[in-house]
Amino acid sequence: MYQKKTVLFAILILITPQLLLAQMERKRAVEDGPVEDIFLAASIVGMSTVTNLPHKNLNTTVMHNFGLISGGVDDFFGLDVGATVRLGIDYGLTDKLDIGIGRTSQENNVDVRLKYLVLQQLQSDKVPVQIALKANVGVNTQKENRFDFTFQERLNYLGSVMIARKFTDQFSLQITPMISHFNTTVIEVENEEQNHTLFAVGLGTRYKWNNRNALAFEYLPVLGNRNSGTTNHAALSLEIDTGGHVFQIFLMSGQWFTEQHLLARTNTDITDLDFRIGFNINRLFSLGD
């Protein structure tokens, strides 16, 4: 009996190295990563998204819209009317903090913006939403004939909290409480209401139907006091992701690409089904090693 046990023990020892030589168990290096591509780009059309730039990534944007399509054939559906263009550059200072600068042809507005990623949605759903903060300061640099504005009087601001969730690979939703402020407002008509400060809760959504294409929508309803003659901005965009580029071809009611101006200056009513045709081009570069 003792011999039998010894032989069995010896066999066990002999086969142990063979067991050790079986393929190693495959283990994931990253068990619970962040949810990616909640939105394809840093903005849908004019409204910023929680999508941020990784460290040392540079995003250049050309944002462009034309006149109202209600101009018909005479204006070639707005394409013959002067365009609004915003040229911008954003850079990932860290994986969580982006800085950007842009210039809009309207009022020669130059804006600087910061976006900070507070929370990242995780695949495990331990963190179910992504939250980012944004601050934007713009300065109207247009030569003004009627007034002699100081630098301080030319400033405009936006602060927002972007809260988003990617519900499925296809569908993402974002809610963005925001506040805008203009140091100077000009009342052109008697009894006209112009507010220095405006509040809104922006809504953004995206439906991605394949790896390269998505439909996105944004809506910026102003809450409470609003400027006379203004309406809520909305835009519908077709997004095309080509790898290094994201193209966005859209219809938008507002004329601007900075949220503070979309809240304060949009005067085209979406219920009139009148829009501007436009497109954004986003190009990503890596400035890393």
Partner: protein, 180 residues
């Protein structure tokens, strides 16, 4: 007593076999991709591998989600192309075909044959490289050309230009004795 001696002998042989095994979790894997007028590389520092010199076995795998090209968006595109949610690993399991003298510290050319799996497709490949015994462990350097079509990988497009079918793969890993 005779059985006891045999057991001790067997056990000592076994320990010898185990001490011939080397392991790492932080090897480097790099791929080089080409499109017309442009090249880019992806790197991971999470190559996990084991080499058993007694049995001439090599076992390596890489979590593909750890590959980074320097542009976050391109990384995400790459993961979609490789379908990493369904096929998270690139793996190689094979045998060392050439002799390796572990008593010298010279870099020695070696050749391995085995199965490489990525995107759920397995192919037998032959890989050439070098092995070198160092004070810190066993240093492996190897490289081969991977053809995307062999693994049912549709080359992604950058703008309207497709990435080249040929991907140059390089790995480098310092494997430490498993006893450590």
């Amino acid at each position: 007593m005779k059985y006891l001696l045999s057991l001790i002998l067997l056990f000592s042989l076994n320990q010898n076999a185990v001490s011939q095994s080397y392991y790492t979790e932080n090897g480097t894997a790099v791929f080089h991709s080409r499109v017309p007028l442009h090249t880019f590389s992806g790197t991971s520092e999470h190559l996990t591998g084991m080499i058993n010199l007694e049995e001439n076995i090599l076992d390596f795998y890489l979590d593909l989600e750890t590959l980074e090209t320097g542009i976050g968006k391109r990384d995400r595109d790459m993961r979609e192309t490789l379908e990493t949610e369904e096929y998270p690993f690139a793996e190689f399991y094979g045998e060392l075909q050439s002799d390796f003298d572990s008593t010298t510290t010279e870099e020695q050319p070696v050749r391995a044959v085995g199965n490489f799996t990525i995107h759920g497709v397995e192919n037998e490949i032959e890989v050439e490289g070098t092995l070198q015994m160092t004070d810190e462990g066993l240093l492996l350097k190897a490289g081969w050309i991977l053809l995307l079509a062999d693994y049912d990988i549709e080359p992604p497009s950058l703008l309207f230009v497709k990435v080249d079918q040929e991907q140059e793969i390089e790995i480098e890993a310092l494997l430490k004795p498993e006893d450590d």
